[in-house]
């Protein structure tokens, strides 16, 4: 059982002579609980791949299935719902709503799904406490450090209990110590909570936290390296 399966996945931007092939027949799969890093030089298509997996962008060719749903077959609203229930996102710039508290931000996906705010925030608070932010539930994003904001973002990604976390350069905006914290947290998400984590990064130190690294170059997979055999015991 895999959580992500792509087959011959292709993405072409533009058309005619100016067309750029961002992804070229990429086939891969990710298993539940696996921590996968996608690496490669800028412009290799790693972000495009993540966006396609997240249903944020449409593929030009090939197929992609997340938790058994073929994303090509889904409309915008269905994709939105899939994102809400099955995926969590962590962005480089945290993208927290500046006018909401940490708990409210972390609770957003379930609030958007119609759960009562009080209940949603209770759930969010549990995650935030696990991530050492129990004291900062009612702080606004501008009162938190970058690392803390990113931890709120990870709590937000997890609050709807999705099986898949997608992280796009999650440490791109952080210093070394915070980067290690966040990468360790993502590994914890994978190992302790059994979520599949797919992370795009260009930082080798961060990528080394993953179980598996997929190297992309010019839109193609050039190498897959298993750093650690996935163990069922965790």
């Amino acid at each position: 059982m895999t959580i992500i399966t792509t087959s011959q996945l292709t993405k072409i931007y533009g058309s005619g002579p100016t067309a750029v092939t961002a992804l070229d027949r990429v086939s891969l799969s990710v298993e539940p609980g696996e921590f996968v890093a996608i690496m490669g030089p800028s412009g290799c298509g790693k972000s495009t791949l993540l966006h396609l997996i997240g249903g944020l962008d449409k593929a030009s060719g090939g197929s992609i299935a997340v938790d058994g749903h073929n994303l090509n077959d889904l409309g915008d609203d269905e994709l939105t719902e899939l994102r809400r229930r099955k995926m969590g996102f962590v962005f480089q710039f945290y993208n927290l709503i500046p006018v909401m508290t940490a708990a409210e931000n972390a609770a957003l996906p379930v609030t958007l799904d119609g759960v009562r705010p009080a209940e949603a925030q209770k759930k969010a608070a549990e995650w935030l406490e696990r991530f050492g932010l129990g004291e900062r539930l009612n702080h606004r994003p501008d009162q938190l450090s970058g690392g803390q904001q990113q931890r709120v973002a990870i709590a937000r990604a997890l609050v709807a209990e999705p099986q898949l976390i997608l992280a796009d350069e999650p440490t791109g905006n952080l210093d070394t110590t915070s980067s290690d914290e966040i990468a360790g947290l993502l590994r914890q998400v994978s190992k302790e909570y059994g979520r599949a984590v797919v992370m795009v990064t260009h930082d080798p130190r961060i990528a080394a936290y993953a179980d598996r690294i997929i190297f992309l170059k010019d839109g193609k997979v050039v190498e897959e390296t298993i750093l650690e055999k996935k163990s069922k015991t965790h």
């Binding site: 080798p204 130190r205 190297f215 750093l227």
Partner: protein, 210 residues
């Protein structure tokens, strides 16, 4: 060399006998995996230090059936040498690099694809780094910070290697286009006209993978 000074430092803490010194040294550097020192190396070093008058040896009468052991202590000149070491900076290590040589050989011999060489090495380094990261994270920062710091250093060096490899990979085409450095034959004959030598390899980018 730093074993010398590490021993002086450990003796500055308190007088110790040889076996104890070795154990303490290993604890400082993060275990025998990190830096394996043979007992003979310890004793040889201690002998030299004693000859130089930096340490002095006493005999510790063993209790009961235990044999008598030699206990070493720091002398005043020894303390001075230790402080001299503290005062000076440590030279960065420009060591011979096997991977670099392998890559160069692959380039000029044409026997292997340099991209392949790099990828193999990269995978190896990632695995190593993953292992070190896992190991480091298994240490409790409240009681094993020394080990964490040492592993951090190693991880960061690995990171530097990986980054260097990324750069190198992007520049492989450029290297292929350049004339390969020929050996400079100094004593015999004049250099041929137009042979200006080469600045290759770039200095300062190599280090041992030890």
């Amino acid at each position: 060399m730093s074993i010398r000074h590490a021993l002086l430092g450990l003796l500055a803490q308190k007088p110790r006998h040889g076996y104890e010194l070795r154990a303490a040294f290993e604890a400082v550097v993060g275990g025998s995996e990190a830096w394996d020192v043979k007992p003979a190396q310890i004793y040889t070093t201690l002998d030299r230090l004693e000859e130089a008058g930096l340490v002095e040896r006493h005999s510790d009468l063993g209790e009961g059936s235990e044999p008598a052991r030699r206990v070493y202590a720091l002398t005043e000149p020894g303390r001075a040498a230790l402080h001299e070491w503290f005062a000076a900076a440590v030279e960065a290590q420009h060591q011979r690099d096997e991977f670099f040589v392998k890559l160069m050989v692959a380039l000029f011999s044409g026997e292997a694809k340099p991209e392949r060489i790099i990828q193999t090495q990269r995978v190896h380094l990632y695995k190593e780094m993953h292992a070190m990261t896992t190991l480091r994270d298994s240490y409790d920062p409240r009681c094993a910070m020394a080990q964490i710091l040492l592993l951090d250093k190693a991880i960061m060096h690995l990171e530097a290697d990986l980054r260097w490899m990324d750069i190198t990979e992007m520049r492989i085409e450029a290297i292929k286009g350049q004339p390969f450095p020929e050996p400079e034959i100094r004593p015999r004959g004049r250099p041929r006209k137009g042979d200006t030598g080469s600045t290759f390899p770039p200095p300062g980018s190599v280090r041992s993978d030890q």
